[in-house]
């Protein structure tokens, strides 16, 4: 398959089951809601070393938030409910409770409930106040700038992590420009996040390493500087490869995000140095969810 001069590999991305949740952070203005959201989703690129994968889903208008203030929707994914609960609570406590003017609300109704402010309330040292409003439980925690308002819990759902595609280009600036264009379009899709810095990862990995202590190592088949000395997957004109990883609430959500992302890359096309789209394929060993690139773009 070739789109606008870009070759779409006949391969698939492998993804695996995760647990996901969403929270809504609001603040006096969008600037401070974003600051809090960026802190809460920081150091959360890969579940392997960060304990979770997290990102900003989108910015919310005052009309879309529970308290009528500007807000940001964030999502967090982890391998299990226990780990997700720990990450959610720790991050909420250190990054939202602490952030000026912030408030924190559930982003998923129903499902298994994870503590959001349920335990953060103890920061109030007995001065905290519970309020049950329209069937939802909130906590008002007195803090130095006024009150921190937080919903007690948020919902958790089964999710999918690790959807991905690789952008192969003739130069590093061209690969990055294509990925930036893809991220702009993918951020318009609900229920997904791209957890790596700016949504793009340049250090894609393979399973295993020559060092026994490491479970993953650099994906040498896609490293352009190793083209001559390893079993490369790159043709001579490829000088740079970048990857976009997607976590989503369902396989369908990731399908949509991959489609618009790949399309945005292909719209730049061969004329802008984009040669191929491929995917992280581990022979079907990594996970049960397979995203076939050519089917997605059909």
């Amino acid at each position: 398959m070739i789109i606008n001069g870009v070759s779409i590999d006949k391969t698939f991305a492998e993804a695996f089951p995760m647990k996901g949740t969403r929270a809504i952070i609001t603040a006096q203005n969008e600037k401070w809601a974003l600051i809090s959201a960026q802190a809460m989703t920081g150091f959360a690129t890969s579940v392997i070393a960060c304990g979770c994968e997290a990102g900003i889903e989108r910015i919310l208008t005052p009309e879309e938030t529970p308290d009528g203030r500007p807000g940001v929707s964030i999502m967090i994914f982890a391998m299990g409910a226990k780990g997700l609960a720990k990450q959610l609570e720790t991050r909420a406590g250190q990054c939202v409770l602490t952030s000026p003017t912030s408030a924190l609300f559930a982003g998923i109704e129903g499902g298994k409930q994870l503590p959001l402010g349920k335990n953060l309330r103890y920061f109030g040292d007995g001065f905290q106040i519970a309020k049950k409003i329209a069937g939802k439980r909130y906590w008002r925690v007195p803090v130095m700038d006024g009150e921190f308002l937080t919903e007690a819990t948020t919902g958790m759902v089964d999710a999918v992590g690790g959807g991905n595609f690789l952008v192969l280009a003739e130069s590093q600036p061209q690969a990055l420009a294509a990925c930036e264009a893809a991220i702009v379009e993918m951020q318009k899709i609900p229920n997904v996040i791209m957890p790596f810095p700016g949504g793009v990862v340049r250090s894609g990995s393979k399973v295993g390493s020559k060092y026994p202590a490491l479970g993953a190592s650099t994906n040498d088949a896609f490293c352009p500087t190793l083209k001559g000395i390893t079993k490369t997957d790159l043709s001579p004109e490829i000088e740079s490869v970048m990857e976009i990883v997607i976590d989503g609430l369902s396989k369908e959500d990731i399908d949509k995000a991959m489609r618009v992302g790949i399309q945005a890359v292909c719209d730049l096309g061969a004329a802008n140095g984009i040669k191929r789209i491929s995917a992280g394929n581990y022979g079907g060993k990594l996970g049960p969810f397979h995203f076939h690139l050519q089917e997605i773009m059909a």
Partner: protein, 271 residues
């Protein structure tokens, strides 16, 4: 199916215990069986059919027509369904109700919604003393649900209240929120003496400055972010509380009752 309607034939001299006539107890019964139920009437018993004309068949939607202020215990322990009282209701309306809705077009006597567990109770007229309170000797009043009163309320509203909301469009008597444990009482009108007397937690939300006792301390003026959520939850009510023009988020906060630790609050609207 039309509502199961009990139309009062005559006003008995003695009080009537209406607690058998709740939705869950009448489900599946024929009208003749319902008519044969005996109600306590003062020291004697009276058959339902002797006191009411009965019509309709939907036991989940009960109407008590031509009601008056000696019909006590209407909707006691109601567990789902609707009861509409056309006229006044006596004492203990909706006592210990678990779920469902009760609407009264007139006024009610004392202890309306006392020890309410959940559900929605709407009173178009006035309510007597101990609205949503605890029965004498008991330590917890209403534990959930919402009470809406469009008229005035007597003394001790929300006495020992544990959770839930009492919304009062009119005035409220003395000791509003006395011995309150938690929950919210909102009063648009005037409050009587000693609001929040011995409250340990909970919120009194007032539109007018009350005359507070010396055991409430001024915590200053604040913009509280939970108030927009609270007012938004009133939007579906058929009430002045649903009017966005009455909402506010800027309040003077008083902490008290300091004799009980000062964890309760009186929030007064700031212009």
């Amino acid at each position: 199916m039309s509502a199961l309607t009990f139309t009062l034939k005559r006003q008995p001299a003695q009080r009537v215990d209406m607690s058998p006539l709740v939705c869950q107890k009448l489900a599946g019964l024929e009208l003749s069986q319902i008519g044969a139920i005996e109600l306590q009437n003062g020291k004697s018993k009276v058959r339902v059919a002797d006191l009411f004309n009965i019509s309709g068949s939907n036991s989940q939607n009960i109407v008590i027509a031509d009601s008056f202020n000696k019909l006590d215990f209407i909707g006691k322990e109601l567990d789902g369904g609707n009861i509409t009282v056309q006229g006044d209701a006596g004492a203990y309306l909706g006592m210990q109700m678990k779920s469902g809705q009760i609407k009264v077009t007139g006024s009610t006597g004392i202890y309306a919604a006392c020890e309410l567990k959940n559900g929605f109770l709407e009173i178009d007229g006035n309510a007597g003393d101990f609205l949503g309170g605890a029965l004498p000797g008991n330590k917890q009043g209403m534990k959930g649900g919402t009470i809406l009163v469009k008229g005035n309320v007597g003394a001790r509203a929300g006495d020992h209240m544990r959770r839930g909301q009492i919304l009062i469009e009119g005035n409220v008597g003395d000791y509003c929120g006395s011995r309150m444990l938690a929950g919210t009482i909102a009063v648009m009108g005037q409050t009587g003496r000693f609001p929040g007397y011995a409250m340990s937690r909970g919120t009194l939300l007032l539109w007018n400055q009350p005359q507070l006792s010396a055991t409430f301390n001024d915590c200053g003026s604040h913009t509280l972010s939970f108030l927009p959520l609270l007012f938004a939850s009133f939007k579906s009510l058929s009430s002045r509380f649903a009017d966005s023009s009455v909402a506010f988020n800027r309040v003077q906060r008083y902490g008290g009752d300091m004799t009980e630790g000062g964890r309760g609050e009186v929030l007064v609207k700031l212009a």
